[in-house]
Amino acid sequence: MSGLPLHGVRVIDLTMVWAGPLAASMLADMGAEVIKVESRRRQDAVRYLIYPKGEPGEDPWNRSGYFQRFNRNKYGITLDLTTRRGVEIFKQLVLTSDVVMENFTPRVMENFGLDYPVLRSIRPDIVMISMPAFGRSGPYRDYLGFGNSVEAMSGLSSMMGYEDGPPILGGVTFGDPVAGVHAAFAILAALHYRERTGKGQHIEIAQRECFTRFIGEAIMDYTMNGRVGRRMGNRHQYRAPHGCYPCKGEDEWVVIDAGSDEEWDKLCEVMGKPALAQDKRFFDSLSRWKNQDELNKIISEWTRQHDHYEVMRLLQGAGVPAGAVLTNKELLEDEHLKKRHFFHDINHPGAGVFPQVGPPVKLSCTPGSIRMHGPRLGEHNQLILSGLLGVSGDELDALVKEGIIGTEPLVAQQHFA
């Protein structure tokens, strides 16, 4: 992968589920040699989520589509870090690595005897990142938190919901990818600094703190004006029309955001209702905001006659921001994304070829690609332990026998099932 930005960077990835694995996969997409470390005792829980055509097969832990999404381009080994030999081998691996990533609760790495001071004594310029939910200090240090907790505790959930309804969680735990992308950025910043100074460091990303930044302007409204962020549904605090409108097909929707006078005039024109632009209920932006319920009814009458792509094309053709509300199926079939080669095929071990999201940003010289499928459990034990660390064949057999490494889980832990 000599042509990629992170050629020669070796990353040990102890992270599980989504945020951490996403960060590591972004590095792997760009050429880093990422070694994912699991154990026969504890596999990434998402190894048991979403199988090809819904069939778990005999080795479900190797068949998860979810695991593939966030672990492609990585090598995979198993190593039992509750054993002395497992920890010794891990330390050897640290000696030859640049980055160690973990997203356990704070005490886990300490219990393994593998916290930052230990890693630094082995490899002084190591970059380590920890990704606790609430941070490695403070009264909530050891509290349990996952993606949905991060969303609730960040302040976002209190503002999420229909204007007349209770707070609800979003369609995904959005705090996960947000922390993941920032983690990748943080690691790159630390590597850039190390390049210049030779110094490593420990990064701590408290996922809730990171996500709270995404409601920055609402926090400013509170600290500046004492106004508490509230639920507004699809309304905009300052602009109208701004909403989601029904289209012809079943559960088919389009969004329209026509805040300026010019966009409003164009919207009326496209709807074939030029007189509406002169209607004094909607004549200026403040009137449109105040009368938005009425306005939304009128717009809905029009959108109902068309399909969502059609409304989008008509309005965008006239310079009005509008977008079809796309399903997962429609995304995969979308002509724009196809032209941009956004989805890449991944040859899924033992299951066939499936489309996956490609590298999330496009670098003109080094676009990156999906070079390897996500590893089967312990798939690269021999390659990494013998090939990289020089563990002998005999010892490898002994490690298998003692259960310190292996390719099958001790218990298939269907965490989320």
Binding site: L6, D221, N225, K362
Partner: protein, 399 residues
């Protein structure tokens, strides 16, 4: 102590949210960010609320103040010849250019990647746009709600009985900016080792899709369309927000073992043993029965008491905090998360703080710049123009 990125000089042509969030991150970790604003008006977010005391003023927009901490501001009209010439001179001497105009705008001005990379071959240029620099939608107009709809996040959010629901705030724009910062650093790493610059194309729509998980994968692997679930989880139950005595709380049982613990905590061992509720899928398909038992029990609690009691049982319940609650949150206070920043015109306020902490290099945050505050420093100090030249440029509305 120097910042992790203190050797990077960034020319920032961004406005609104996505681009400024990207360059805010770079500035927070030490990069020198020179923000180029339109003479007179500046970044349009200076005209967008919230404003201090609800009084619109270009130096009092909370949105602008928050997103532009630690940057320098110069003014420059990119449409006139003198402005283009000055921009090219600035681009000669920087490591990174970040812009978030609609695709094609800078090319139209003769200031696209092709032109700037000729002047500075090792330049990293990051373009953040709603739909990317290529493809049939590249000239479409995108705003946060449009990007979220087309990024697949909106269809799956909200109630199945109602219209799809947008996430609060500007989540698409922010996440697009975060992907932009990461892409910028990837290109900088490549430049560090090869000397070769490149163009980073960030589509906010794609940044949103890249932030989906199960909803996308479910179609790719199982051919199933993921519907809206009204805030419920697709794989486990309960994992949703419930009302309690004095507000709302997130009741979250993600794993099998925790379900048993939870039933003990509720003093309902019968539920823990009920064969219908033994797997996540089983609980999802009997969500109504579970809610009928759990919700009245939750209603007897105050949120803080239930949060603390559940965490003592190692159950990952969470508070649903408002913006007001956040400022009083003991965890955030003890960890000194909020940054009190003084601004001579706007006043002194608490801002959301660091995205992460680095042990060796500082996180640095200082107030957002006044419009054109650094014109003299940059044009005279860096480009060697005289004060008289500045007056000429100002007279001709170039700066």
């Amino acid at each position: 102590m120097s910042g992790a990125l203190s050797d990077l000089r960034v020319l920032d042509l961004t406005r609104h949210i996505s681009g400024p969030y990207c360059t805010k991150l770079l500035a927070e970790f030490g990069a020198e960010v020179i923000k180029v604003e339109t003479p007179g008006a500046g970044d349009p977010s200076r005209r967008i609320g919230p404003f201090v005391g609800d009084l619109p003023h270009p130096e009092k927009s909370g949105l602008f103040l928050y997103l532009n901490t630690g940057k320098k501001s110069i003014t420059l009209d990119l449409r006139c010849e003198s402005g283009k010439k000055l921009l090219k001179e600035l681009a000669r001497d920087v490591d990174v250019v970040v812009e978030n105009f609609e695709a094609g705008i800078l090319e139209g001005l003769g200031l696209g990647y092709e032109a700037l990379s000729q002047i500075n071959p090792s330049l990293v240029m990051t373009s953040i746009s709603s739909f990317g620099q290529t493809g049939p939608y590249k000239e479409y107009k995108g705003t946060d709600i449009v990007e979220m709809a087309m990024g697949g996040l909106m269809y799956i959010t909200g109630s199945p009985k109602r219209e799809p629901l947008k996430y609060a705030g500007s989540q698409s724009q922010y996440v697009g900016g975060a992907y932009g910062a990461t892409g910028t650093m990837l290109a900088c790493m490549y430049r560090d080792s090869t000397g070769i610059g490149q163009h980073v194309d960030v589509s906010v729509m794609e940044a949103v899709i890249s932030s989906l998980s199960d909803s996308m994968i479910t179609y790719q692997y199982e051919g199933k369309i993921r519907m809206r679930l009204g805030g419920l989880n697709w794989a486990v139950h309960p994992s949703h927000i419930m009302p309690c005595k004095d507000g709302y709380i997130l009741v979250s049982i993600l794993t099998q073992g925790r379900w048993g613990d939870f039933c003990q905590f509720m003093n309902r061992p019968d539920l823990g043993e009920d064969p219908r509720f033994q797997t996540g899928i089983g609980r999802v398909s009997h969500a109504k029965e579970i809610d009928a038992a759990v919700e009245p029990w939750v209603m007897q609690w105050n949120r803080e008491e239930l949060f603390q009691a559940a965490q003592a049982w190692r159950l990952p319940f969470s508070l649903v905090l408002t913006t007001e609650d956040l400022l009083k949150d003991p965890q955030l206070i003890e960890r000194k998360y909020f940054e009190r920043i003084e601004h001579p015109v706007a006043g002194t306020f608490d801002y959301p703080g660091r995205p992460f902490q680095m042990s060796e290099t500082p996180y640095k945050v200082s107030r957002a710049p006044f419009l054109g505050e650094h014109n003299i420093e940059i044009y005279c100090g860096r480009l060697g123009l005289s004060r008289e030249d500045l007056v000429r440029l100002r007279t001709n509305a170039v700066i």
